[in-house]
């Protein structure tokens, strides 16, 4: 199984085994890493699964489509590397990827 490292805002890191073919959000939740709320359950409609993709991995994670872009636009703490984790399908190629979680979700 590929692994991904998730770093909480307080610096605490978790290397989790991930399942390909489902979203990054679901993988983080099923590994009980705190910091993702996912209020809408992955419909790209709440913005509470926000994360930051470490630089080297952003290409592999892909780019936000217009709907995700409009949800990201509402985030006060949005950066260049911001993504909604429910919109990223995990693949085997993501083995070793690093993501950071924001201070809060809203």
């Amino acid at each position: 199984m590929p692994t991904i490292t998730v770093i909480e805002h307080n610096g605490q890191d978790h290397t989790i085994e991930v399942q390909s073919g489902i979203s990054l959000m679901e993988n983080v939740l099923s590994n009980s890493v705190p910091g993702i709320d996912a209020d809408c359950g992955g419909a790209c409609a709440c913005g509470t699964c926000h994360c930051f993709i470490a630089e080297d991995w952003s290409e592999l994670a892909g780019t936000a489509d217009p709907m995700e872009e409009s949800m990201l636009g509402m985030r006060p703490d949005r950066t260049e590397t911001s993504r909604l984790s429910c919109q990223i399908q995990v693949s085997d190629a993501m083995d070793g990827m690093v993501i950071r979680l924001p201070e809060y979700q809203m």
């Binding site: 209020d39 809408c40 419909a43 636009g73 509402m74 703490d77 809203m106």
Partner: protein
């Protein structure tokens, strides 16, 4: 369609004879079987006649999410409630704007309610909650709505705007005036009362704006934040937009939180086993707060207007049609929420409800509302073994605000 004396029978009346915008459905708490029937028989339903003109009702959870997320087709302009604006008072607010204007204004206001600011406000909010609860008349019957819910949310609002504390009851009054008119949501407020009230609101906040501008002390309340953001720095020069945004923040943070603060008491009294669970484990409070907000659905609907013809779930929606998303109904949709009619304080996924809407207009104050209610419940449980409901609640007459005007209670200290 004139509203008949009596509500039609929810199970046998032909669907075309039911007016889903009738404010008595909420006032009499009669809405459940009507919307259950729509979800089952005609979840995307066209009503040809109503006091507010024809409109579509969207009643299932997933369909509501789809409409709410699709601002390209389903516009928030010119307004987001079922009734149209009255021409004499066109207030502009970002809840009723589409991108890009919506995004610009919301971005300016949003940081004030970001969780790290909320954390700074928590001690002050807690101290106000404590004071309210410590002054309740033990051994007497009183109205929870006035003495706790309204009192608390008004203090909260005054804090958010740093509004003169002695005059804070004006905030509640203006909020009621903004949402209470018959043409807007079926309430009883007359334009003679409403328009002067809103003008008073505008004048008061204009004065506060200028005073604060002079002070320029880097404060962290809403007015200063609006002034510091280049996009809204001159908002005061656009009075209807200024008023609209102020009203939005007052109404947004007032009725909704107020009615949730009452709903929790009612729901726990109606579900004693859940109250016992809570007594045994105060750690359930955060999840319970979300469940209260779902169960109550303080705003029954939001409306959109179709920007062009579209087929939605097999129905032909025409350009210009009103499309009403019934959050109230979405929150009772069994295909999205298990045992949707039940009040269960320890649900696995309590935030998966539709009371805050979804998409780019999703409630900006959702974490603030949750925090206020969490603090309220933490302090209630520290003091009272039971907040006992001793009479029937009275409910607001509206098809938009789902709330209470009174709930008689007695408190039993630990």
């Amino acid at each position: 369609m004139n509203q008949p004396q009596q509500l039609p029978d929810p199970l046998t009346a032909p669907l075309e004879q039911i007016d889903f915008s009738d404010p008595r459905l909420l006032e009499q708490d009669a809405w459940r079987p009507y919307f259950a029937r729509l979800r089952e028989e005609d979840p995307v339903h066209y009503q040809a006649e109503s006091p507010f003109g024809p409109f579509w009702s969207i009643t299932r959870f997933d369909d509501i999410v789809a409409v709410d997320s699709n601002y390209e087709v389903f516009s928030s302009e010119p307004t987001i409630i079922i009734g149209d604006l009255t021409d004499d008072m066109r207030v502009e607010q970002f809840i009723a704007m589409d991108p890009p204007k919506h995004d610009v204004q919301r971005r300016a206001a949003q940081p004030v309610v970001a969780p790290q600011n909320l954390a700074q406000m928590e001690p002050l909010i807690r101290s106000r909650v404590v004071e309210i609860l410590d002054n309740l008349p033990v051994g007497e019957t009183f109205n929870w709505v006035d003495d706790v819910s309204i009192n608390l949310t008004t203090q909260m609002l005054a804090t958010l705007f740093d509004f003169p504390f002695e005059e804070r009851s004006k905030l509640t009054y203006w909020s009621d005036m903004a949402t209470g008119s018959p043409e807007i949501a079926g309430g009883d407020t007359s334009p003679e009362e409403r328009i002067p009230a809103l003008m008073d609101c505008l004048e008061t906040f204009t004065r506060i704006w200028h005073e604060r501008k002079g002070r320029d002390d880097g404060g962290f309340e809403l007015i200063s934040l609006l002034q510091r953001d280049p996009n809204t720095a001159d908002l005061v020069d656009r009075p209807m937009e200024f008023l609209g945004n102020i009203i939005l923040l007052i109404v947004g943070g007032n009725d909704t939180t107020r009615n949730s603060a009452t709903a929790g008491i009612l729901a726990l009294n109606q579900n004693p086993a859940e109250y016992d669970k809570l007594r045994a484990n105060h750690g359930l409070i955060p999840g319970m707060v979300s469940e209260i907000i779902r169960w109550q659905t303080p705003l029954a609907h939001m409306r959109r207007t179709a920007k062009h013809d579209v087929i939605f779930q097999g129905k032909q929606i025409k350009q210009g049609d009103k499309v009403v998303m019934w959050y109230l109904s979405g929150n009772r949709d069994e295909s999205a929420i298990d045992n949707a009619d039940s009040f269960i304080i320890d649900r696995a996924n309590p935030r998966h409800h539709i009371s805050f809407g979804f998409g780019i207009h999703r409630c900006m104050g959702n974490r603030l509302a949750e925090m206020q209610l969490r603090i309220l419940w933490e302090e209630i449980m520290r003091r009272f073994s039971h907040v006992e409901v001793v009479g029937e609640p009275e409910r607001v007459k509206s098809n938009f605000v789902r709330g209470y005007t009174s709930l008689p209670v007695r408190v039993h200290p630990l």
